[in-house]
Every structure is written in structure tokens, then in C-alpha cells.
């Protein structure tokens, strides 16, 4: 009955619900996420791995795909890269506000809620557009690994493993098959790379990935380049 939401303008602003209860602008934002390069996150009992495909274009040097938010939190996103950088900057500031306010590192769950709240505000006020990105936060906090996925509407999900961006369904299939709670470091890295390879449309040998890994051992973010990843997988 409501096959054409655009016919009545229900997709013109996030402040308007469509008659069947959807916020069409947020759904359009999810479409934008699906155009972004793929990223995956895996949480095991000892490691958190975030990995993303670095897209390369002729004569353009590829941009970063995984980011450090604080010593113990890493992040990656799919979608509009400018929106992503603006949101990550906000996440970094929230992490420092926590340090100034309480003198402590921020709990990744709290950070995810703060970012979720912020994204939500763009679905309820006029004159704004939602962020065209989905975000993953990976962290080890008080020796506990955590992985959060936040969608453009601000919904937060705690995940064992997930994928975002173009062809995410194919990556999720690989994660579903290969995921185990007790994966070793090398196996977790390999699973992340395999999931990315499944998602890219071109020749999979051309995958250039960037990765962040956090171990419960020290709880610190390490960012790995494709070269670093190759070395670990070869060893």
C-alpha cells in the first residue's frame, strides 16, 4: 500500500515518519554505507580485530581505514569518508573528556552510547541529514574484549563478529562459518582477511587491507599495514 514513500514526501526529512513507521532518510543512509569499502570486526576471548579494505584509485594514495580513538580503542567505518572522519574526531574528543572528567580511560560501551546518542540526534531534528556511515569500535577494557557496531540511526549492537560496507553479506557468511570464541591471533587475522576477500568484487589477490588488533595481554591498539599482516600470516 505504501510502495512509494517518495510520492508523499516521507523521505524528505528525518523528522517525518512514513505511514508504516519507517524513517526513510535513515534507510537511505544505510544505502550509503553499502557503497563504502568493506570493514570487518572480530572479537575472541583474547583479541579484538578490526580490518578494512583500503580502496585504491589511480594516482590517488589510499586513505586510512582503521583509526586509533584512544590507547585502548580502535575504530573503522564504512560509508562517506568525510562523515566518518568527523564522527571519529568526536569519538576521540569524548575519550579525552572522560579522562579529564574522571581521570580514567573511557569504557567502550559508554563511548558507543555517546556516539549512538549523537547519531540519533540527526534522526530527530529538522534541517540535518543523518551520517552516511556505520561504525565499529573495538576495545579491550579492564581485560575484557569488546566489539560494538553502530548504524546510521544510532542503534548500538554488541557483536562477536560483523561486517559493514559493500557486499557485507558475503563477508558475514565467511565470519559465520569460521568464527570461534577461542581463535588464536593468527587465525583471527586470517578470518578477517578471508572475510574481506570474499566481499571484494575485483580479483581478491588485489586486496590491500589495514588492520587494528588489541590483545588482552596489554590492551593497547596496534595498527597493522598489509605488509605487517602478510608477515604474520607467513610466519
Amino acid at each position: 500500500m505504501f510502495s512509494q514513500p517518495s510520492q508523499f514526501g516521507y523521505d524528505k526529512a528525518t523528522v517525518i515518519f512514513s505511514p508504516d513507521g519507517r524513517i526513510i532518510q535513515v534507510e537511505y543512509a544505510r544505502e550509503a554505507v553499502k557503497m563504502g569499502s568493506t570493514a570487518v570486526g572480530i572479537k575472541t576471548d583474547q583479541y579484538v580485530v578490526l580490518a578494512g579494505q583500503k580502496r585504491t584509485f589511480e594516482l590517488i594514495e589510499s586513505a586510512d581505514k582503521v583509526f586509533k580513538i584512544d590507547d585502548h580503542i580502535a575504530s573503522t567505518f564504512s560509508g562517506y569518508s568525510a562523515d566518518g572522519r568527523a564522527l571519529l574526531q568526536r569519538a576521540r574528543i569524548e575519550a579525552q573528556i572522560e579522562r579529564i572528567t574522571y581521570g580514567e580511560m573511557i569504557d567502550p560501551e559508554v563511548l558507543s552510547e555517546k556516539i549512538g546518542d549523537y547519531l540519533q540526534s540527526f534522526t530527530q531534528y529538522g534541517g540535518v541529514r543523518p551520517f552516511g556511515i556505520a561504525v565499529l569500535f573495538g576495545s579491550v577494557y579492564e581485560r575484557e574484549p569488546s566489539l560494538y557496531f553502530i548504524d546510521p540511526g544510532g542503534a548500538i549492537f554488541s557483536c562477536l563478529a560483523t561486517a559493514i560496507g559493500s557486499n557485507e553479506a558475503a563477508a558475514k557468511e565467511i565470519l559465520k562459518k569460521g568464527y570461534k570464541k577461542n581463535l588464536a591471533k593468527k587465525a583471527a587475522i586470517k578470518l578477517a582477511i578471508d572475510a574481506l576477500k570474499a566481499a571484494i568484487e575485483e580479483d581478491e589477490t588485489k586486496l590491500i587491507a589495514e588492520m587494528a588488533i588489541i590483545e588482552t595481554r596489554d590492551g593497547l591498539v596496534q595498527v597493522l599495514s598489509q605488509k605487517d599482516i602478510d608477515e604474520i600470516l607467513k610466519a
Binding site: I100, T101, Y102, G103, E104, D107, V110, E113
Partner: protein
Amino acid sequence: MQPTDIEKQLAKGTTTVGLKCKDCAILVADMRASMGNLVASDHAKKVHQLNDFSAITIAGLVSDAQYIIDIMQAQIRLFELDRKRRPKTSMIANLVKNMLYGQYRAYFPFYVQLIVGGWDQTGPHIFSFDMAGSLSEDDWFSSGSGSPMAFGVLEAMYEKDMTEKEGLRVALRALKSAIKRDTATGDGIRAVVIDSKGFRELSKEDIIELGGVI
């Protein structure tokens, strides 16, 4: 009115003591509120509970102190609801510090000397502040007009890793010294212990038994 006249109108004479033992934090204070030479109250409350595992002692301008306590209690309650966990004592101290510093930099410092005590997973803690928002973690501290007398006793008698009873005896002894020699301190004692079981206020009988006075 000259500033000194105003100050005489304000309740501010006090002695409070905070002390760290092996397994608990102890906070004690007298109950007199003075306005210059007048005893404005003989049942003033100077040790306030912040949450189940922390408390604060106040000295100085009572209105400022009560306002800070109200804000801190609200902030801590919101923290606990948002995060389903208790803030560490050091986190509470950080909140107090920021509040004091912000006010100091607005050219109207809160006229208070505060001691925060609490227990968390890392053990018992005592934190002290000055009006400008500096923060230091201490084994023991005293504040208020009678603090010089209490300092002398604490300096001589404090030992690390005391039991709750030993710690209370030292804290009460320090406070009694101030009650004797400082005219703005007196009218009984309120004593609080915070350990792994949480906040607990001592009865009058307990205080007398441990060498305190009512």
C-alpha cells in the same frame, strides 16, 4: 559591610579528619557550626554520604559545601544508572576537583576544604582538595580551623595498615585534641567507616568506647 564582617557571619569553624587504614577509610568530624564567636549549631552534619561506598567531609562555607554535595550526589547517581557500575573513589575525587577548579577560575571560589574518602576494588582511599581545585591522595588529612591541632596528633600517631579500631582511635584522638583547643570545634563527633561492605556510621556508644566524646 567589609569582607571580614561578612566572614564573621558565615558558619565556618570546624575540624574534620580523614584517615586510611588497611581495609577501610575513616572520616570523622565535630558537630559545631560557628559564626564568629557565636555557636550557630551544635548538631551540624559535616560528614555526608555520597554513594554506598564514598563520603565527603566539609569545612568552610556550609552553603557552598551543601551545593557541592548535592551536585556530586546527582552526578554519581547518573553515573551509576548510565553505566551499571559504581565510580571509583578517584573518579569521584576528579569530579570534585573539576568543580572546584572551574569555580576558582570564575573568580568566586567555593569557600570550602573537602576530604573525600571511599572504598573500591583498589582498596580504601582518602583524597583532599584546596579551594583552587588541587587534588592529592593522602594516607591521612585534616581540614578546618582546628586542623593544626589534629595534624599534630595524626603526625605522631598515624601508622600504615592500621585496623579499623586502631584507625578510629587515632582519628578520634586527633579530633578530641582540636575540640579542646579550638573554640570553633566541639559539640560531639560524627564518625563514618567505609569498607568492602560499604558506608557505615558509628553509634554514639561506639564513639565513646573508642575514646571519643559526645
